[in-house]
């Protein structure tokens, strides 16, 4: 669930496409909290999440059809610390992270910057470890608004409104209870970017189920993140989540 959107730094020309399926207005819709709690159960249950104190995952990243590929490594720790490193061929290294207070991004192309407003709020939400357990804390409102088909499967469509930032829409497969799609407007310095993210190939790696494939569409471009390996409760250096020096310089400016 947390491999949702921001593993790609600025270059993400992600996107929207939102192909709405068939609505079923006459169906009695379950409450959003029921759907979101079922998602926790479907991905391993509360106990599986509660065992996770930190995590490290690695994978690959690719702009589909563009020949641009890279490697991704991400670290997360309680309560909402994260660092994601993308090494993109022909471009260089891009990093995105938060120490739980300051959310930042740094790249060889654009240099360091500190996120503000909705963008910061979203990063902090995304960094929350065991986020599926805490949706009540992360969102002020959740509502089931209909049923739509995603990739041929009927899904509940749930709109979640955070305390800070734009609402996001999540789609949960009626049969498996897994989240298979999300649409949102991603805040960025380049403006609000409509993004559609599709999750598939859920697998467990000695922890909760994680989608092995995360595909994003934005502004007509498509990219694919493939999760290769996840480790839980590993030794992460204590300074791993400290702000990089150039980011720190911006906060003390």
């Amino acid at each position: 669930m947390h491999l949702r959107r921001q593993f790609l730094p600025t270059l993400v020309l992600a996107a929207l496409s939102g192909s709405p399926g068939l609505a079923a207005p006459d169906e009695s819709l379950p409450k959003a909290e029921e759907i979101l709690d079922k998602f926790v159960e479907a991905t391993g249950g509360k106990a599986a999440y509660e065992k996770v104190r930190n995590e490290k995952w690695t994978g690959t990243f690719e702009y589909l059809g563009k020949g641009v590929k890279g490697k991704v490594t991400s670290y997360r720790a309680e309560p909402n610390k994260s660092v994601t490193i993308v090494e993109l061929e022909g471009v260089g290294t891009m990093q995105d992270g938060t120490d739980g207070t300051t959310a930042w991004q740094s790249s060889s192309v654009q240099g360091p910057r500190v996120k503000q407003g909705d963008e910061r709020a979203m990063s902090l939400r995304e960094a929350t470890l065991r986020a599926p357990l805490y949706w009540r804390k992360l969102y002020k409102h959740a509502e089931t608004v209909g049923v739509e088909t995603v990739d041929g499967q009927a899904c509940y469509k749930v709109v979640l409104t955070p305390e800070e930032g734009k609402p996001e829409t999540q789609y949960f497969d009626k049969k498996s209870s897994l989240m298979v799609k999300m649409t949102m407007s991603m805040a960025s310095p380049m403006g609000e970017i409509p993004v559609e993210t599709v999750f598939s190939d859920y697998q467990a790696d000695a922890g909760p189920l994680q989608p092995r494939k995360v595909q994003q569409k934005a502004l007509g471009q498509e990219c694919l993140f493939t999760l290769e390996h996840v480790e839980y409760n590993v030794d992460i250096p204590s300074d791993r989540f400290d702000l990089p020096a150039d980011v720190k310089a911006l906060t003390t400016k």
Binding site: L13, G90, P194, G220
Partner: protein
């Protein structure tokens, strides 16, 4: 024997199928992604129906490419093109096959004549004392003038004329590494001079990005006119190397009264590099070079301020061979009041684009968005108009001078 013939026929049939799939890919990509869903009044479905029989008839790759180029030419925009598959091969193979080694010369067409504007250090041309300002008359015995005349007529008043003319001459000079090109010049004294120039790899390191054809990228920085910084690079590529070099060039020039950024002949590359470079000159947040308008949403080219901010004067040098990211960078900085532009109008080819691989192996470059500079002007087909128009002349080049650099230096020195 029969088996061989059958096999060859199958291959042709397969290639035709792939070419037809490629045609459909190109057409549908534009249908789905072209930023203007009205296609500027063009009936895109009709274009498909008109050209579909032609792609079905095409029996060679060349013919198939021609049909697809006909299709995309109907849009009348830059940054749409079909890139032959062989450019994606290994560079050595590519040089052997199509030849991208150069004669070590850069060329502009000035007053209808192909004039040498720079000679690469250490090149065969430099060793033979080829001089800037010399006019190129013939390449391997073929006169240059008729081709230039045809291109000039075809392009009319197009902002891309200078780019096309220059590229036409450079294409004739390029070939396989180690081969020799015979070039007949007119020297400074008006005498005919013939040189046998051995082609060699272009300067710079080879860079690759996605399906862009591999390219050599160089970066140069020095001092000009005393203590003025001078920075030039030939492409906005290889950011992992170029961005730190650019930053270091500026840091080392922190006390300089001004910096010249020479984008003449720079055809662009990764647009995001313009944002990164602009960050070193801008200290306020929320400043933009312009806005990219896609079909889905506008994307602001917002500059991320970087420390330390360079506060001296910034002169951008441009010409008709400055295109795309060069125009976004120079035009945006001008609109932000952070740069003054010297030279001649740019190519007006500034659409952000992507390159896909087609089923037949070719590359397909397609613009993703329209681009409007922060001043509210589209750059496509218009270009960046210099604040101070300065043209290169043969006389100045023969005298070893560059009037565009000289004018920029003069402006920066006035600050003192």
């Amino acid at each position: 024997m029969c088996a061989f013939i059958a096999c060859a026929q199958d291959e042709t049939t397969e290639q035709k199928r792939l070419n037809q799939e490629s045609f459909e890919f190109v057409w549908s990509t534009i249908r789905d992604q072209y930023w203007d869903p009205t296609f500027g009044g063009l009936n895109w479905n009709a274009v498909h129906d008109e050209l579909r029989p032609a792609i079905e008839r095409a029996s060679t790759m060349g013919q198939a490419r021609q049909v697809m180029r006909q299709m995309i030419d109907r849009l009348g925009k830059s940054h749409f093109g079909i890139i032959p598959a062989d450019v994606y091969g290994d560079l050595d193979e590519r040089n052997e096959a199509s030849g991208t080694a150069t004669a070590g010369l850069d060329v502009r067409v000035l007053d209808g004549k192909a004039i040498v504007t720079s000679v690469d250090d250490g090149s065969s041309a430099a060793k033979q004392d080829v001089h800037t300002g010399w006019e190129i008359l013939r390449v391997d015995g073929v006169p240059i003038a008729p081709a230039l005349h045809r291109i000039a007529e075809l392009d009319g008043n197009s902002t891309m004329r200078e780019l096309h003319l220059s590229r036409a001459v450079l294409a004739k000079l390029s070939g396989a590494a180690g081969t020799v090109v015979r070039v007949e010049f007119l020297d400074g004294a008006g005498r005919g001079v013939t040189k046998q120039i051995e082609r060699s790899e272009p300067p710079g390191a080879l860079a690759r990005f996605g399906y862009l054809p591999p390219a050599h990228v160089w970066f140069r920085s020095r001092r000009a006119g005393g203590n003025i910084g001078y920075i030039a690079f030939n492409l906005f590529l290889d950011p992992a190397r170029l961005m730190p070099e650019f930053g270091e060039a500026l840091r080392s020039c922190a006390a300089c009264p001004g910096v010249i950024i020479d984008l003449r002949g720079n055809p662009g590359g990764l647009g995001i590099m313009a944002l990164g470079m602009a960050g070193w000159f801008i200290d306020k947040p929320d400043q933009r070079l312009g806005t990219m308008h896609t079909r889905q949403a506008p994307l602001k080219f917002t500059v991320n301020p970087r420390l330390p901010t360079y506060t001296g004067r910034v002169a951008f040098l441009v010409d008709g061979c400055s295109a795309s990211t060069s125009e976004i960078f120079a035009g945006g900085m001008k609109d932000l009041g952070r740069g003054r532009i010297f030279g001649t109008r740019t190519a007006g080819a500034a659409l952000p684009s992507a390159i896909d691989r087609l089923p037949n192996g070719d590359g397909f470059q397609h613009a993703l968005a329209d681009y409007v500079s922060e001043g509210g002007r589209p750059l496509e087909g218009v270009g960046v108009i210099p604040d101070v128009e300065v043209k290169l002349t043969r006389q100045a080049l023969l005298a070893g001078r560059d009037p565009v650099i000289d004018t920029a230096i003069e402006w920066i020195q006035k600050r003192k």
